[in-house]
Each structure stands twice: as C-alpha cells, then as structure tokens.
Symmetry: C2
Subunit: 369 residues, 2 copies
C-alpha cells in the first residue's frame, strides 16, 4: 500500500491478518448457531440463515468490531475470547442497516452480489411465482425488510451472550442503543438533506450527519462499547469520544475531497460520481456560499447533472478551488484530525491498543489525494 | 358488550380501565424522555419524536403489555411500577413492526390516520419538496423504515431500564429476542405464502404462521417475559406456553371463521374482505383439499376476486361448509382453546393474574359468530 505511514501499515496489517479472520470465524459461527432457533426446522428459515451468511460473509473490513476489541484492550481488558464474541454486535448492526439502506437506495448490488431484497426477488422468480415484476420487487423488499429486522434482533443477542459481568453488559447495551439512535437520526437528516436544494443546507447539518453516521457509529461508539465491557472510567470513555468525534468528521471531509479531486485510479470510484449524483458535500455547500452569482449558477448547472462532461467537472473543481472551499475543507479536516490524534496520543492506554488506534487514524486521514 | 362471559367481561374491564391508562401514561412518558437523547436539540429529531408519539398514542388495546404485567403477577411478582415500565417493550415492538408492516402492505392508514411512511411523504410535501410523486413516496418509505429501526432500538432500552435484578433482565431480553425471531420467521412465511397458489399451501404452514405471529408474539411471549422478570421457574414458563400456544392458533382460526361467516355489523370488517383479498386461511385451504373438481374450480374463481358478488360469496361459504372445512376449523379451534384454558385452570398461579388470563381467553375465543 503506497503512502502509508509505518504505524498505519502496521495497524492495517493487524486488522487484516488478526482481527478480520477472528471476527469472520465468529460471525459465521454465530449465524450458524441461529439454526438452533429455527421453528419446525423449516427449510424456508434455513434459507434465511443461508442468505444472511452469504450477505455477512461477502467481505467487509471489520473495522468497527476491531474497535470494540481495541477499545477493550486500551482500558486493560484481558478476555480476548469474550470481547471478540461481543464485537459481532456492531458487525451485525452493519448488516441490518445495509440491508435496509439498500432498499432505501434502491440498490441492486452490494459488494458485487445481489442486495438482500434482490436476493429475495430472485428467489421468488426461481420458485416460479407468477406475479407482475413490480409486485415481485415489492415482495422482495418486504422479505428483505423483515430479514433486516431479524438481523437487528441478532445484534442484541450477540451482545448479551458473552461472559462479562452483567452490569457491564447492560451498560454496553445501553451505549449501543445510544449509538444506534444517533445513527438513525443521522440517516433521517441525511435523507431529508437529499430532498433540499443545496443552498438551503447548513454547514452544521452536514457536519452533524458526519458526526452521527461516522464518528458515533464507526468510531467512538464501538470504541466505547468495548471500553465499557473492559470497565472503563467515564474519563476514559471521554478520550474515545475526543478521538473518534473529530476523526470521523475529518475522514468524511477528506473522503469528499478525494471524491471530487482524487485520482479515479486510486479512489476506485467512477469518474465524477459525487458530482453526478448531486452529493451534498461541504465542498459544494461552502463553494455555493462563497460563490459569485455567475459561479453559483454554473456550479448548480453542473452539480447533479448525470451527463456532465470532463470539462464541466473541471470547471466545478475550479469553482470549488476559487471560492476557497477546497482550502476551507482541507484546513477543517486537518484541524479535526489533529485534534483526534492528540486526544489519543495523550491517553494513558494499553500501548498495543493505543498504537492500533493511532495507526488507524493515520490510515483514515492520510490517504492520498 | 354482548355475549361475554362474566369472567371475560371482568378481564376486559380491567384491561380498559386499569392496564391501558397505566400503559398509555408510561408509553407517552418514555417517548417524551427520548427528547433528552436528541443530538443538537435538532428540530427535525424532535419532529421524529412527535411522529412516534402520534403513532404510538392513537389507540391500541395494550393487550400484549398487559400480558407482561399479568404474567409477572401470576408467578408472584410484586413491583407493579417496574413491571408496567418493562411492559412497554412489547408495545414498542408493535409500533416498530407496524411501521414496517405498513410499508410492506403499502397501507396509507393505520387506526384512521396516516401510516408513518405516509406521514413523512406528507411532511416532505408540506416542506415544498419538488420531486416526482414516485420519488416522494420512496423518500417517505425510507424515512418510515428508519423511524421503525429507531423504534426497534427503543424497545431494548425500555426493557433494560426498569429496576429488576440484572440476571432476570438479561434472561427476559433473550426471551424477547427469541420471540422477535419467531415473529420475523412468521412474517417471512406469511409473505412467502402470499406468493403461492392456495392449493400448494400446507395446513401445517398456516398453523405455523399463527403460532409464530400470534401465539408467540401476542400470547406466550409477553407472558413469559413478564414471568421471567418475576423469577419464574421453567415449569411455570411452560404453563404460559401451554396456555398461549393453542389459544393463539384458536383465536386466529376463529378470526378467519368470523371473517367468512361473521355478521359484518358485528365484526366491523368490510363485507367479504377475506375472500376478496384472497386471504390464505385454513378454511379455504381445507375446503380446496376436500373439494370436488367442480367445487375447487368455483372456489378458486371466487377466492381473490375483488369484484365478487354477494351470491359468489354465499357460494364460497356453501363450499366451505359442504367440504366439511367449516366443521374441521371449528372443531380444531374448540379443541385448541380447551387445551389452552385447561393448562391455565390447572396452574398454581396468583389468583388475580390467573383470573385475568382465563377471562381474556374466554374473550378471545367466545366472540360471536
């Protein structure tokens, strides 16, 4: 991997070679164990588990559950077997939310294979169900939604099963509830923002969406859940927040910078996809705020235009540069990332856990532009 | 209320005059308390709570939470304050599942007011969002789904908050997880059955759907959750199962009999609605199984025909009678109901709790045909 600091490289290696195989193994086992709860050993319900196994085991970096494990390690937790089991909660929630998100986004593919509701639509076709295509699609969505709900239930099961003191498990579960609430609020605000003209979206709402959907859900939430299971103090929990909150926002800001200015070959995203789909990024919102009437008019013409040319995209980038929006975003991302790193550097945590979190932070914010 | 036994009348009076006001009050308070978790005091999130309050407080008999309370009482539980708070879990799950069900069924009304996804579609229109109607509808569905997910999270919060020994709360939560799994499986089987020709649906699958969606979710599930919080023995838990399992199926069988043969003025359902919508009832499935080729042909012509006449409906009823399906269903419902009642009558439970459950059972199965 090019451009990675040694610390980032070490953390990524640990994620891939230690955490991911361990989490994958336990996730598969937890889903297989679900067959014990199948009423009447019904083949249709075994098929639900088959589909959940397919969906869950398609890949996924397992970064969030690794944060549960390392948050626990940071505060001195020693029962790695139990914490790996508990870490499944946040990988399970990811499957639940992705199954539902794919319905909301009307996506047909997830990691190169059919989304859950499309798997069910295909299943109905395979069974020879004679219904109009629209009805078949709707039935697939109904089944996908329900399997998402089932997956939601499993997350709670996975958090309560491992062998930790019940007081800590209850506290961790309540923290998980908090994090999921924030995630849902972030999603609601995000969908709402999609319905608004970009000039009406406030900077604070864009940052709030990032803080809810990324900082809370991906960073400080899993870290705190793990740390709570390791009997962390409130002061320790605060450090994870001070690390994860700014870092999550910085990551998303930089992700948007990469989306607009990054090398298509390196980001792997289709050319100009953020522009074409009219993504409500702080880059665009800030540019519109500072633009001349002329620039604003042009940017709004280009933004959200599915047929834009390379020249249009270059012009949009120019406007984002000239209005100072690119500098503003870069500076904000840099400042937030530094804040997050500083909070972790100052922490009196287990050195191995701390090293991992510093390495991941460097990975998240120093990706090449 | 006509035709109620004194015991049923007493139980219904208790449900309406004692349980419902107590549960309504606490449900409202629990939702209002959610405002404390709203990030940035954002008006959009206060609006989510407003909508959840509207949806949750529209009515609802509160039968399921009353079972948590009475299951607890049956095994000697004394902390009525705590158990009423815990009982919200199953009313919250009802809101969660109804919000999602209404999307699956493409329903616009729930208890005479807009369903959650339609509330959001209307909200977007009110905000002047300029999008094609199909897109607006889809956005409403996305927001409704997410609010359903949020409501799912709240149920777990409501179960862990009340002051019971943590060991019992954890066990109750795991039982809740089991019941919700069964409910999801029931929903999956139900949606799948809707896609199948009625001749291919097996009797055992119809009974399995009833046992999952009604016996487990409405009857023995809530009863066992309450009883577990009252530190019930496994033997006591089994009694609730032996009561709720057959009774839930009996109730649904009788509900279907009422749907086809009941007096429209008394059932309150639109005339012939089960027939028109092609509901997969055991009445129809058994009739098809026993029918002559002639009867089968006619029944399949009438069943699912949205424009059927009163004469068609009467002919369908005749076939259901002549094939012995009505007698079969009545007899099965009677046998199951007796089984359930006998299990409760034999139980060494708190007399007040037992009396309530016997009264509710009489109410559920002795409604007029």
């Amino acid at each position: 991997m090019l451009g990675l600091t040694p610390l980032a490289e070490k953390a990524i290696k640990k994620l891939k070679e230690v955490h991911k195989p361990e989490i994958d193994k336990r996730l598969r086992a937890a889903l297989e164990k679900e067959r014990e709860y199948i009423p009447n050993d019904h083949p249709l319900f075994h098929d639900v588990i088959d589909k959940l196994l397919d969906f869950n085991m398609r890949g996924g970096k397992r970064l969030r559950p690794s944060f549960i494990v390392e948050g626990y390690r940071c505060v001195g937790g020693k029962d790695m077997d139990a914490i790996y089991d508990a870490s499944l909660v946040i990988e399970g929630s990811e499957a639940w939310l992705l199954i539902h998100d794919d319905i909301m986004d009307d996506d047909t593919l997830r990691r190169g294979k059919p989304t859950m509701h499309v798997m069910y639509e295909n299943e109905l076709k395979k069974r020879g169900v004679q219904l109009p295509p629209e009805k078949l699609k709707h039935m697939g969505i109904s089944l996908g939604m329900t399997v998402g709900d089932l997956q939601a239930v499993l997350t709670y099961e996975w958090l309560t099963k491992p062998d930790f003191p019940r007081e800590l498990k209850e506290k961790a579960l309540q923290r998980y509830n908090l994090v999921l609430r924030l995630t849902c609020y972030g999603q609601i605000l995000d969908v709402m923002a999609e319905t608004m003209p970009p000039e009406e979206i406030k900077e604070e709402d864009v940052l709030l969406i990032h803080s809810l959907k990324t900082s809370a859900y991906t960073l400080w939430g899993p870290l705190q859940i793990g740390a709570i299971l390791g009997n962390a103090t409130d002061k320790q929990l605060e450090i994870f927040y001070n690390y994860g909150y700014p870092l999550g926002i910085a990551f998303q800001l930089q992700d948007d910078i990469l989306g607009l200015f990054g090398d298509v070959k390196k980001t792997g995203k289709p050319a100009h996809s953020d522009l074409k789909e009219g993504k409500r990024t702080l880059l665009i919102i800030k540019a519109l705020e500072n633009a001349t009437p002329e620039q604003k008019k042009r940017l709004l013409e280009i933004w959200g235009n599915k047929n834009l040319t390379d020249e249009d995209a270059e012009e949009a980038r120019e406007i984002v540069r000239e209005t100072g929006s690119l500098d503003y975003n870069r500076e904000l991302a840099r400042k937030l990332a530094e804040e997050g790193m500083a909070a972790m550097e100052a922490a009196d945590f287990d050195p191995e856990g701390k090293e991992y979190l510093l390495g991941i932070a460097e990975f998240l914010i120093n990706r090449e532009v």
